[in-house]
């Protein structure tokens, strides 16, 4: 794509479409393969690819288990939608949008497939650098300022990752995740202490990426300043951190469960993050900031859920992850379109109007104009989509947001039976419900302002390739609702396998390299 | 360096010691000389004599041990010779410019 010249935009778009289409297809095939369809020879339906044909603990492996396949599928859907949206006009806001976009997809996919700790780091870097590029796409003062913080924090996080990986290698002598899982169990005494310390640093690095309070102050600015398709894609970026926490937690801890990095503080961190996100949503007036805080809220919910003891919450948490990523992605796309309809400063106007409004009393005329204002189809579409996104985020029925919230809470209550502190259960229930109410307040106000305040709305011109992605994302979440039964079954399966790291380990370490009957004629020396 | 005959080891050792002393002297010059222009001259000692001596020592050792002339250490000398003026010319110009500016400012006062 870099070989093409600036004028050849159509060629770039075609190339991008082909690449993303292939990616989505492979992700779909992987999801099916991990269900045992199409790849019958995979042990436990876990696919292992030995890169360079080196046996497992030595070479780098790619592993596609259910969790990976799930995340890949989600990435493909979101990526495709964000990309289609971007082709409408966004890709022309700066140079190199398409290559950067494809590279961030590569980073995401690689991170989800990595079966090697250092390789995970490398893919983190790819996706992060590509995200820096995309974040800066289009430039502008506020965006560059936000990007500066974003990059700064993530660079420090990368250092932490490196230190932790180095420590882990120094202690165990391996980088392969499956092998690590075996060797970490054998550590004891001082080695174990040091290993825990390394794991904690690793955890902090992932928590930064996953936006845990108090390490997430960079997020609201970054997400609200990024361009719409980029922000939509970023909806999955925090989830990469969650994925890593889950994966590493599942493999590295003797308990196996994803309570990960010292389970004791994951839950409080989650509740704190949740509370922080909730506060942020309440305190924000700008729609994009509300959406950004909603991302924090969803991260907090996931932390808290994964921080509960046992693996019962993992499946529902994954469902929540799917639902919230789809919703937030759609919301970010939507908000940009909506903002186009607002004349400059109408935000402020609406606020002041509201303030005056509460002053006047019942004398408000009872016979005001009782004739409805017809909404143009565009606004109706945007309004309904916003409504649907809000429902998804708040967790109101009938969409998947509700199913997610409900399943999380019911699973949380179940943990009370086997030993979870009851206070924690109530705390989680209360926090999630309160965050729902806060979302209702914030998004309700925001929606009313955006769509119902009559101040000179000029109807934005909506292109088909801007509407379709939103529709696709929303229909995906509707599909998620309708097929909740089978999706949940798949996710419970995923959770079960996460709880049984032995199977992952077996699948990876048991994979033999291909044997070639005629070995390459004895490797010679130098030329 | 195992297997080097004593008759070769002694001059090689002397070469190394000389390289050390010369280079150190040059570096000390960087501290002791008063003005920048004077200091410009000091490090050249290490760059020339220090490197010569070490390269000679290396050539002797390598040639004796491998029983054929080995000259690639002299590439270092060649490259240093080729590149030395670049920095020096620019630095000198910069220092002179700064000095001119300073004296010019003094004059205008």
């Amino acid at each position: 794509m870099l070989l093409t010249r600036d004028g050849q935009r159509r060629l770039r778009v075609t190339l991008g479409a082909v690449a993303l289409g292939l990616m989505a297809l492979s992700a779909l095939m992987l999801v099916r393969a991990t269900q045992g369809i199409g790849a019958p020879h995979w042990p436990d339906n876990i696919g292992v690819y030995l890169l360079g044909n080196w046996p497992a603990p030595f070479g780098i492996v790619l592993v596609a288990d259910r969790l990976s396949a799930l995340m890949l599928g989600l990435t493909a859907v979101l990526g495709l939608c964000a990309w289609i949206y971007a082709t409408a006009r966004w890709d022309r806001a700066g140079s190199h949008f398409h290559p950067l976009f494809l590279l961030i997809m590569m980073g995401l996919n690689g991170a989800f497939l990595a079966g090697d700790l250092f390789n995970l780091f490398v893919f983190f870097e790819i996706l992060l650098t590509a995200s820096y590029g995309l974040m800066l796409h289009g430039s502008g003062k506020r965006r560059v300022g936000a990007a500066l913080h974003y990059i700064a924090v993530n660079l420090i996080a990368s250092f932490l990752l490196l230190v932790a990986i180095a420590l882990i290698y120094g202690l165990t002598g391996t980088l392969n995740l499956a092998d690590l899982s075996v060797r970490a169990l054998a550590l004891h005494g001082a080695d174990r202490q040091l290993f825990d310390s390394a794991a904690a640093i690793l955890g902090v690095a992932f928590l930064i990426k996953a936006a845990a309070w108090p390490l997430n102050f960079w997020l609201p600015n970054t997400y609200s300043e990024a361009g719409a398709p980029v922000a939509a894609l970023f909806a999955i970026m925090t989830k990469v951190g969650i994925y890593a926490l889950l994966r590493i937690g599942s493999l590295l801890l003797p308990a196996g469960a994803p309570a990960a990095f010292g389970g004791a503080w994951m839950f409080p961190a989650g509740i704190a993050t949740l509370a922080f996100g909730t506060l942020g949503m309440l305190a924000s007036t700008q729609a994009r900031r509300i959406a950004a805080y909603a991302i924090i809220t969803s991260s907090g919910t996931l932390f808290a859920a994964l921080g509960m003891p046992g693996a019962t919450l993992t499946g529902p948490a994954l469902y929540y992850l799917l639902s919230s990523v789809l919703a937030l992605g759609a919301l970010f796309l939507l908000l940009e379109l909506t903002e186009r309809s607002q004349s400059f400063g109408s935000d402020v106007l609406a606020i002041t109007q509201e303030a005056f409004e509460s002053e006047d009393t019942d004398t408000a005329d009872l016979s005001g104009q009782a004739v409805g204002v017809p909404l143009p189809a565009t606004m109706a579409f945007l309004g309904l989509s916003f409504f649907a996104c809000s429902l998804l985020i708040i967790g109101l029925p009938p969409l998947s947001g509700f199913v997610a919230k409900f399943s999380l809470l019911s699973a949380a209550l179940r943990t009370a039976e086997y030993g979870a502190p009851t206070a924690n259960v109530w705390l989680l229930v209360a926090a999630m419900l309160i965050s729902g109410v806060a979302g209702l307040i914030a998004l309700g106000r925001c929606g009313v302002r955006l769509f119902w305040v009559p101040e000179d709305l000029h109807v934005p011109s909506l292109r088909l390739n801007e509407a379709i992605p939103i529709l696709v994302l929303l229909s995906a979440s509707i599909l998620l609702t309708a097929r909740a039964g089978s999706v949940m079954a798949y996710l419970e399966d995923t959770a079960w396998y996460l709880d049984q790291p032995g199977r992952y380990v077996e699948a990876v370490l048991g994979q033999d390299p291909h044997v070639f009957p005629a070995p390459a004629a004895g490797h010679g020396g130098p030329q | 360096m195992i297997g080097l005959p004593l008759w070769a080891a002694v001059p090689v050792a002397l070469l190394l010691v000389l390289a050390g002393i010369v280079t150190l002297t040059g570096s000390i010059g960087l501290l002791r000389l008063r003005s920048f222009h004077e200091r410009m001259h000091a490090p050249t000692m290490g760059m020339t004599m220090g490197v010569f001596c070490v390269a000679l020592a290396a050539t002797v050792i390598a040639s004796l041990l491998q029983h054929r002339p080995i000259v690639h250490e002299w590439l270092i000398c060649l490259f240093l010779f080729m590149t030395a003026p670049v920095t020096a010319i620019l630095l000198m110009q910069s220092a002179r410019r700064r000095q001119r500016k300073r004296t010019g400012a003094d004059e205008s006062k």
Binding site: - | E38, M45, T48, M49, P85, A88, I89
Partner: protein
């Protein structure tokens, strides 16, 4: 064909460099080195429009010997000045020398020699009047230094390059 011939000296230099670097005279390295050297030498004039013409290799060798001896001597002198410190009582200063050499490669080699000799630094060159300015650590004998530069260095360089 002319280009090929013109680039031969550089090619030879590069081939020698390659062989020295690899420390080998094997057929493989000869062929590979020759191929690389020739390619590079053919491409080089694009970014190096001024070509050097070399002649009198013996003069060049003698010059190298002189330079080596001068470097050794200057090292001794400069070392003494440094170790004595302020007590040395030397007077540093600038020195202008009228040059005759015009070839850029010759000038560049002169710059290398002067810079590589402790005690003298190239401090500027006026291309119109062809005057070289030096900074000298010990300016006790300006005429001697001028003579050394003009006779020992400049003349052989003119022989080699012009």
């Amino acid at each position: 064909m002319r280009r090929l011939l013109q680039s031969l000296p550089l090619a030879c230099l590069l081939l020698v460099l390659w062989l020295v670097l690899n420390d080998s005279l094997s057929a493989g390295h000869l062929i590979l080195g020759a191929a690389i050297a020739l390619t590079l030498a053919l491409l080089a004039p694009v970014l190096r429009p001024v070509r050097a013409r070399l002649s009198h290799p013996l003069t060049a060798l003698r010059l190298a010997g002189h330079v080596a001896a001068d470097i050794a001597r200057s090292n001794r002198d400069v070392g003494r000045i440094i170790l004595r410190g302020p007590k040395a009582g030397t007077e540093p200063g600038f020195l202008d020398i009228q040059l005759r050499i015009r070839d850029p490669h010759g000038l560049a080699t002169l710059a290398c020699i002067i810079t590589f000799t402790p005690g003298t630094v190239w401090a500027g060159h006026d291309p119109e009047r062809n005057i070289l300015t030096l900074h000298v650590l010990d300016l006790s004998d300006p005429q001697g230094l001028t003579r050394i530069i003009q006779d020992r260095y400049e003349r052989p360089l003119m022989e080699i390059f012009e």
